[in-house]
Subunit: 268 residues, 3 copies
C-alpha cells in the first residue's frame, strides 16, 4: 500500500466510524473546529467545565487541547481531561498556540506536556522551537521564525516530549523521533484566514481516533488539509470565499483527487 | 387561516416588531445565533455576566438559555435571567445541549427547568429522553437514539415539564401536552454544519416574542428552518456554501415560497 | 495629498508593516475580528487572561478593548493591558458595546476610559450618547436613537474623554474635538450581519498602528469598511454571501477603487 492510499483509507474510516472528538479549544476557532469535524464525517463536542470534562472525554475517541485563549481554568480542565484520556487509551492532541509569546503560554503548554501523555503535538516552528527552549521570534500566534532546520527541530521535540511532532509551515514536517514525513501541499490562502492551524490540529485528532500510528495520522491530516487548501484556492476570490470552499472541499473531496494531489516525502 | 399562513404571519411580525432576543448561549454558535436573528429581522444581544443579565433581559422580548458550553457561572446567570423574564412575562426558550452526555449537563438542565418557567424546550430526542430519565445514547451533542416514539416522548416531556416541547430530528415534533405538530421539512446538510439545532432554538425564541401560542411559535420556527434548509441545499456544493446560502435564505425567502414548501401535520 | 490618498497609504502601510493587533474582544465577533485583520494584512492575537495580557500587548502595535461580552475579569484584563499599552505608547481603541443598555456596561466603559488613555473611542450614537450621560434608547447592542446632532455629540465626547471619537451610523462622524470628518460610505447589509461595528473598531486599531494622527486612522478605517461594504453588496444575495464577499473585498480591493469610492467630508 502506498502512503497516499493510507491517507485515503484514514479518511474513509473517519466517515465510517464517526469518531467523537472532544475539544477544549480556543474561542476564535471553536466554530471552525466544529464545522471541520462535521464536514469530514466526525462528530465534535466542545466542553470546558471541570465539572464534566472527564465524563465527556470518556465518551470520545480523541481529545484536542488547544490553548489559544487559555485561562488558568481551561488549563486545569485540559489536564483533567488529558489524564482521563490517558487512563482510557484515548489519543490526545496538543496545540500550544502562541507558546513563546508569553510566559503563561509557554509554561501552560509545558505543564500539559508534563502532566499528560500527548499523542501528537501540532504547532508552528516558533511554538515548537520555544517549547524546546530555542529563542524564537513569535508574533502573536500567527507564525514565528527560528534559526534551525525544521526536520531537525521536529525530531528533537519528538524525542524530548516523547510524542509525534507535527510542525506546519510552508512545508509541513512530521516526526516520531525516528521516521519523518514532509508534506508539500498547501496554499498561501491558508494563512489568510484564522484557524487553519487549529483545523490541522482537529484533523490530527480525528485521524488519530481511527489510526494508532500517529505519525501517519498526523501526516494524513496535514496532507488532507493542504490538498483541500489547494483545491479551495482554485475556486476562491479571496479569504471569504476560500473559507467557504475549504469546508465544501473537506466534505466533497474524492479519494482519487486526494491521492493524486498529495505530495509526501517519507523517510522511514 | 391555514397553519401555513400562521407561520408566514409570525415571520412578518418579527420583521415589523424587531424583537430583541437575549441569548445566554454557547461559544460554538454564538456568532451564528446572532446572524440568524439579524437575517430574519430580529435583534440579538449576547450577555452573560451575572452583574447585568437581569437588566438586559428586561429590555428584551425573549430569552434563549443554551447550555452548550456551560459552566457553573453561566448556569447561575441563566437562572437569574430566567427568573427575571418570568417575572416580566418574557418567553424563555431552553436548549439543553448535550443533556445526558454528562451528569453536569443533565443536572444543570433539570435545575433550570425547576427554577425557571420555560416556554419552549427545544432539543433532540436523546436530550429530551435523558431529561425524562429514559436511558438514551448521546454521542456528544450531535444526536441520540432513543427507543421510544418521538411524539409520545414530546407529549410526556411537555406534561412533565409543563412547557411546549420541540424535538428536532428527521421529522420534528412539537407538543404542548395535548396538541401536536409534525414538521417534515429539512435537508441532510442541516446536520453537516454545527449550530443548526441552536439556530432552531433562537428561531423559537424570536417567534415566541411575537406569538404567545408557543406551540405555533415553535412549529413555525422549525418549519421555517426546514424550508430554508431545503432551499439552501439546492444552491450548495457542500456545508460551506450551504451555510452561506442558509443565511441568504433566512433573509430573502418570500412568504409564498415558505407557505408552499411547508410540510406540517397537525393534531389538534 | 488628498484625504483619499491618505487613506490608501494607511492600508498600504498595514500590508507592509503587518502590525500585530492584540484584541480583548467579545465572543460573538472574535473570529470575524481575526479574519478582518488577516484579510487586510495585519496580524491578530486574542488573549484575555490577566496572567498574560501585559506581556502580549507589549509585543503588539495596537490594542482593541471591546466589551461586547464583558465580565468583571475581562474588564480587569482590559485595564491591565490598556495601562501597559499606555506605558509603551501603543494605541488603544475602545468599543463600549452596549453602553447604556445596562449599568454594568456603562460603568465598565467609563471605568476603562478613566483608567486608560484611549486613542480612539468607536461606538454608535446610543453608546456614545449614554457615556456622555444623555438618555439614549439602546436596544441591546445593535443601535440607538439619540435626540442630538451626531457631529456635536462626537465633538463633545472627544473633548470630555480627550480622545478621537468615531460614531458609526448611516453617516459616520469622526472628531478629535476640533477637526471633524464625515464618511458617507456604507450599505444597509452592513447592519444585517453581526460584528461590523466591531470590525470597524479592529480596523481603527490596525490603522492607528501605522498612523499616529488618530483622526485619520479612524476616518480611513471607517471609509475603508464603508467602501468594502458597498462593493460586497453588489455581489451578494443576502447577508450570508455579503459576509463572504466582504472578506474577499477587504483582501482584494485595489487602491484606485478605494480612492474612487471614498466619500469624505472634512472640516479642518
Amino acid at each position: 500500500m502506498t502512503y497516499e492510499e493510507k491517507c485515503t483509507i484514514i479518511f474513509k474510516k473517519i466517515k465510517e466510524e464517526k469518531p467523537l472528538v472532544h475539544h477544549i479549544t480556543n474561542f476564535v476557532v471553536i466554530n471552525d473546529n466544529a464545522n471541520t469535524m462535521l464536514a469530514i464525517g466526525a462528530l465534535p463536542v466542545m466542553s470546558y467545565a471541570r465539572e464534566e470534562v472527564e465524563e465527556m472525554v470518556a465518551l470520545s475517541q480523541a481529545l484536542v487541547l488547544n490553548i489559544g485563549t487559555l485561562t488558568p481554568e481551561t488549563v486545569e480542565s485540559a489536564i483533567l481531561a488529558g489524564r482521563k484520556a490517558n487512563e482510557l487509551g484515548i489519543p490526545v492532541v496538543l496545540d500550544p498556540v502562541g507558546a513563546g509569546a508569553t510566559q503563561f503560554r509557554t509554561e501552560s503548554a509545558l505543564k500539559i506536556l508534563q502532566e499528560v501523555k500527548i499523542s501528537i503535538l501540532r504547532g508552528n516552528i516558533g511554538e515548537i522551537g520555544n517549547l524546546l527552549g530555542i529563542k524564537a521570534e513569535v508574533r502573536g500566534v500567527e507564525g514565528g521564525v527560528v534559526d534551525a532546520d525544521t526536520s531537525d527541530l521536529a525530531q528533537r521535540a519528538s524525542q524530548k516530549f516523547q510524542t509525534v511532532v507535527a510542525i506546519t509551515g510552508k512545508i509541513d514536517v512530521v516526526s516520531d523521533g525516528k521516521r519523518a514525513v514532509k508534506i508539500k501541499n498547501g496554499d498561501i490562502l491558508l494563512t489568510r484566514i484564522t484557524g487553519t492551524g487549529c483545523m490541522a490540529t482537529s484533523l490530527c485528532a480525528a485521524c488519530a481516533a481511527v489510526e494508532r500510528d500517529y505519525l501517519w495520522a498526523a501526516s494524513s491530516a496535514l496532507g488532507f488539509l493542504g490538498v483541500c487548501g489547494e483545491i479551495a484556492a482554485r475556486h476562491s476570490l479571496g479569504p471569504g470565499s476560500f473559507r467557504v470552499s475549504l469546508f465544501d472541499t473537506f466534505y466533497g473531496i474524492k479519494k482519487e483527487e486526494l491521492k493524486a494531489l498529495l505530495s509526501l516525502e517519507v523517510k522511514d
